[in-house]
């Protein structure tokens, strides 16, 4: 029997090798033949967000105008890149367009799933690409090629409950020391003083926001050397973990959306979060505190050697490389994200950061966080555009979660995190140390 098992395995292996000869010839084809006729419908991959809500609203209008139906295929946030990449690898035109989170852009383009947009951008005058600050144009690029149109521009902001702050006589923090003292006062009054994210999925973003605001960076911008062995990285981590004592219980295993839920339904005094959640918090259907919250800039401290800045996140709208209707997809996206629809996006709280939008006094009155969007669009810090970023975020989040749950001490955790990042970057050949 043993010999039979071994020979079976050998046969299976041989079949595999034979197959490899066939399958490797079917490598990646570039360029899908374009169907120039007007399509009856286009499909867009989206995930729940105010960007999705706004696009759906505009799509109805677009259908009435052009007769082209826009179908929306909704996916969970963390499966968005997977769906795009699998669709591309199977060479099927499942999606014509997609929402793409900025920090996953490089990974998705590495698979060849997205179409470059530069020729459209230079030829389409109505879209007016120069209306976006350079920082925001770079946000949608990998290398020097544009793959994404700004859909929402979301700097990390300080959110606080204005009703609690006026009741306790607090002021929004300008430094992290203020933020901690506010957290103490809030907790003393029986509220949650802060809401950090400490779970194994995504906590790295929140730590990264704190690190950047203290003048530190995850990676060296030029050589991509991990910088978690720096003293500012450690100090930022210590501070980040110390805020856990002011956070709701559930935060110890939370992801970003748990923090959003806590802020909208529980008594959370302050937190750091991307600006795109304005629409959620301002909607009384989703939040108990609509009208009782406000935003301010992220607290900034000059600790590290880099400029302390706020972090820049946000959705991009991209066109699938496998779509047969790329021109039609461009027409829809450039119309939806054009100047004429800026107001619709302002109403739902997360507009693309056009200069003409953020400088419009009427819009600013409606959406007071627009000046912060304008600042961040100019000099906010986006995650490096390298394909390894998704892996770095996952692994670093796990390390943070290990430290927050007491499985690793701060010292050991920082050493492990630095080694994990080094491993990833050396293995991929990104950092040649």
């Amino acid at each position: 029997m043993k010999r039979r098992l071994i020979s079976t395995i050998a046969v299976i292996g041989a079949v595999g090798l034979a197959l490899s000869a066939c399958s490797s010839s079917g490598g990646s084809k570039s360029g899908v033949p374009q169907d120039d006729k007007k399509p009856s419908s286009l499909t867009m991959l989206v995930t729940a967000s105010s960007s999705e809500d706004t696009l759906k609203k505009l799509a109805t209008e677009y259908t009435a105008k052009t007769g082209i139906t826009i179908k929306f295929d909704e996916a969970p946030y963390d499966q968005l890149p997977t769906k795009l990449i699998l669709a591309k690898q199977s060479n099927q035109s499942t999606y014509d367009m997609s929402m793409v989170d900025g920090f996953t852009l490089a990974q998705i383009t590495a698979s060849g799933a997205l179409a470059p947009l530069d020729s459209y951008l230079t030829s389409d005058k109505a879209y007016d690409y120069s209306d976006f600050p350079q920082g925001l144009q770079d946000y949608g690029k990998v290398g020097s090629v544009s793959y994404g149109l700004p859909l929402s521009t979301e700097p990390y902001l300080q959110w606080y409950r204005s009703d609690l702050y006026s009741q306790l006589n607090l002021k929004p923090a300008t430094t992290w020391a203020d933020a901690i003292s506010n957290a103490k006062d809030l907790q003393g009054a029986g509220y949650d003083g802060y809401d950090g994210v400490y779970g194994p999925a995504g906590s790295a973003h929140y730590y990264n926001a704190m690190l950047a605001s203290m003048g530190g960076r995850l990676l060296d911008p030029k050589t991509y050397k991990p910088l978690l062995d720096s003293s500012v990285a450690k100090q930022a981590m210590k501070q980040y973990l110390s805020l856990k004592q002011y956070s709701p219980d559930a935060s110890s295993s939370s992801a970003g959306l748990d923090a959003v839920n806590a802020f909208s339904h529980q008594q959370v005094g302050q937190m750091i979060l991307a600006s795109g959640w304005w629409g959620t918090f301002a909607d009384p259907k989703n939040s108990d505190w609509a009208g009782k919250f406000a935003t301010a800039e992220t607290p900034l401290d000059k600790v590290g050697s880099y400029q302390p800045v706020s972090s820049l996140y946000g959705w991009l709208a991209s066109i699938s490389a496998t779509s047969k209707h790329q021109k039609a997809a461009w027409d829809f996206l450039s119309w939806a994200l054009g100047k004429s629809n800026a107001e619709t996006f302002v109403e739902t709280g997360a507009p693309p950061g056009r200069i003409s939008t953020t400088s419009n006094a009427e819009f600013v009155k409606e959406l007071p966080l627009l000046p912060s969007v304008a600042d961040a669009a100019k000099d906010g810090l986006a995650m490096p555009r390298i394909p390894e970023m998704a892996q770095i975020v996952t692994v670093l989040s796990q390390d943070i979660s290990s430290m927050a749950s007491g499985q690793l001490s701060l010292d050991d955790g920082m050493v492990q995190a630095q080694n994990d990042l080094l491993n990833i970057l050396v293995q991929s050949g990104r950092y040649k140390g």
């Binding site: 039979r4 079976t8 729940a48 967000s49 946030y77 959306l257 959620t280």
Partner: protein, 274 residues
């Protein structure tokens, strides 16, 4: 006498507690499925203080994505179950009664398919399926699920055929029955409980499968299990609709199995364990 009464009381008490533990989560989910999004996150102390609403169900049936994935799930489950029961009956008969070439090799391959972790197969299957242009369609999912559940069903049928008396079969052959007649009039009635058991186990496994559909059916061929996982969205965990979907996923399989529970228990007892 008194001791045995105490023993009976204890037995009853333990079984009641265990049954409550087994059923409580379902009850809780069913309860939550009739609450609106507000009531569902109220403190538990007010769990029964709500106005029941069917809104979650109504809106689910108005959602094309839900209806589509429900149809996909039903289709995949029915097709693979039928295929598996048919092939397992043939295969089980062959393993029990015939000495065909490659018998041990086939058994070995089937055991490997049965034991190997699905994660080994998933990427190759994905590449093969997309290679032939069938990515995101229900057919390959049904075929793959049928293949993965076939070994178990075959062993089950093998046991049933082994326990079926050989004499009736031989008498039928002596009377000049064809192979088809033999199956139709003699064998299938004899192993019907086994086919029911195999069908039940296959249906459960296929209906509940997640890893294969989540990779192979992204949009057109999305199953209910994949659909429900989406309720945990970036924006909000919608517990009300989530619970309603959970009820609608769980109800069909629970009702199906309970209605056939007799043959399940009988099948296991009679077939596989002697």
């Amino acid at each position: 006498m008194r001791r045995s009464r105490v023993k009976n009381t204890v037995t009853h008490a333990v079984l009641v507690v265990a049954s409550l533990l087994a059923i409580f989560p379902l009850f809780w989910v069913a309860l939550a499925s009739f609450k609106n999004n507000r009531d569902v996150i109220d403190p538990v102390t007010q769990a029964f203080d709500f106005v029941p609403t069917a809104a979650n169900y109504v809106s689910l049936f108005g959602t094309p994505a839900f209806v589509g994935s429900a149809l996909t799930s039903v289709l995949i489950t029915v097709i693979s179950t039928l295929v598996v029961v048919a092939l397992a009956t043939l295969g089980g008969y062959a393993f029990a009664r015939l000495r065909f070439p490659g018998r041990r090799l086939l058994a070995l391959v089937m055991v490997i398919v049965q034991i190997i972790p699905g994660i080994v197969l998933i990427v190759p299957l994905y590449r093969l399926v997309s290679g032939i242009g069938l990515y995101d369609q229900w057919l390959p999912i049904a075929v793959i699920m049928a293949g993965l559940t076939l070994p178990f069903a075959t062993w089950l049928m093998l046991a049933f055929f082994q326990n079926a008396p050989l004499e009736i079969e031989e008498a039928a052959l002596v009377d000049g029955a064809t192979r088809f007649q033999l199956f139709r009039h003699v064998l299938i009635p004899m192993v019907a409980p086994g086919m029911a058991t195999a069908g039940i186990f296959t249906a459960i496994a296929v209906w509940n499968s997640f890893l294969i559909p989540v990779v192979l059916g992204q949009s057109n061929a999305e199953t209910l299990t994949v659909y429900v996982a989406q309720f945990v969205t970036f924006q909000d965990v919608n517990w009300g609709p989530l619970c309603a979907t959970a009820v609608l996923i769980l109800a069909p399989i629970v009702l199906f199995v309970l209605s056939m529970q007799r043959s399940l228990v009988k099948g296991l007892t009679a077939g596989s364990l002697k």
